[in-house]
Symmetry: none
Subunit: 209 residues, 2 copies
């Protein structure tokens, strides 16, 4: 089997050197080039065959995200592995959407790197362990999550969103206005907001209205 023709794209020379060293002894892989920006890579690709690209997402000229997309359009048979420090879920998901076959953090072990490369070449998408964690843990928006509301509180919230005053609500629910007031205060505490206006906005964001 031919060796995998591999290039590295990263604007940190140190990272390039590190990867080169790490992969020097891999016998099914040969590093044929390394570039510090997108233009260099594209120029090289148009002249030479490449099987695998190890790509950083932060580059001086084009965002790695777009670059990934461009490369995949022109050279769909080339496998792209993202090697990055970004731990934001959205960025990771986006790169995959743009055609990358995997995502590794720069502190990944050689073992993980090797595993991801072989996986990616076979066509599967491959993440390093930490990345899997990031993907599987819901976003902080979901993490903080909508507060747990009681039945009564939901009722009161909904009536507040209709512009009703405590008195109105009390009449409607056959309660003392003071009780409604308590519910209102508990709601504001649960939502961790300053007043009803902000609470309505928050409730809307959390799809509670």
């Amino acid at each position: 089997m031919n060796k995998l023709l591999t290039v590295i794209v990263d604007d940190h020379p140190i990272v390039i050197e590190g990867l080169k060293t790490l992969l020097k002894n891999e016998d099914n892989l040969e590093i044929v080039g390394s570039f510090s920006n997108a233009a260099q890579l594209l120029s090289y690709l148009s002249r030479n065959p490449v099987n695998l690209i190890l790509l950083d997402v932060t580059l001086p000229d084009i965002g790695g995200m777009e670059l990934c997309k461009m490369v995949k359009e022109k050279f769909p048979d080339t496998t792209i592995l993202i090697i990055s420090n970004h731990t934001e879920r959205s960025i990771i998901m986006q790169t995959i959407q743009n055609g990358a076959s995997g995502y590794l953090l720069k502190n990944s072990s050689l073992e993980e790197l090797r595993q991801c490369i072989t996986g990616a070449i076979k066509g599967t998408i491959c993440y390093s362990k930490e990345v899997v964690e990031i993907i599987s843990r819901p976003t902080k928006n979901q993490l903080r999550g909508a507060p747990q509301l009681t039945r009564r509180e939901k009722q009161v919230l909904s009536l507040l969103a209709q512009g009703k005053t405590s008195q109105n609500i009390a009449q409607e629910l056959f309660l003392s206005p003071l009780t409604v007031d308590t519910h209102r205060r508990n709601l504001i505490q649960k939502f961790e907001v300053k007043n009803v206006a902000e609470m309505i906005a928050a409730a809307h964001r959390e799809q509670l209205l």
Copy 2:
């Protein structure tokens, strides 16, 4: 060019089969999955790249509307086409507002479907013929419409939604609290609501926040 990776989400197996059959012979599109509820779709999306989602709005678990929004937040590059039987204007408009790239009725022709898919992928929003008719005749709701707000009013509205008091806002905008008060009152009048809480809810409905 790669084939468009397409998934179908509908709780009617018959619709799924129908769409599959219709699209089987499209050579620039490949159906890689079909799901009967939102949870299945989300789980698949987190693991696999998808270019196009054909989505029904009525699903057993989450409303297609919310689902649409969620998907677009997490995977903004995925194109969503709504395929539905709902002919209510508000629903159609809402899906578009939530990030869908088009809306078709289930009785649309293959020709229309094809046209909408190519259009949507290119970034334009695409409706089938009947849907265009529905949209073009405005409803009484649309007649009342969202109020016309001035620049300052929008600012104040936004800050109110953040739970700020008139004093806070005044400081932030270098105004007299009394001025902010005036803006607030004008806003409440324009929205024809009773207080700020209801206004925030209304503003959210009209997609002004």
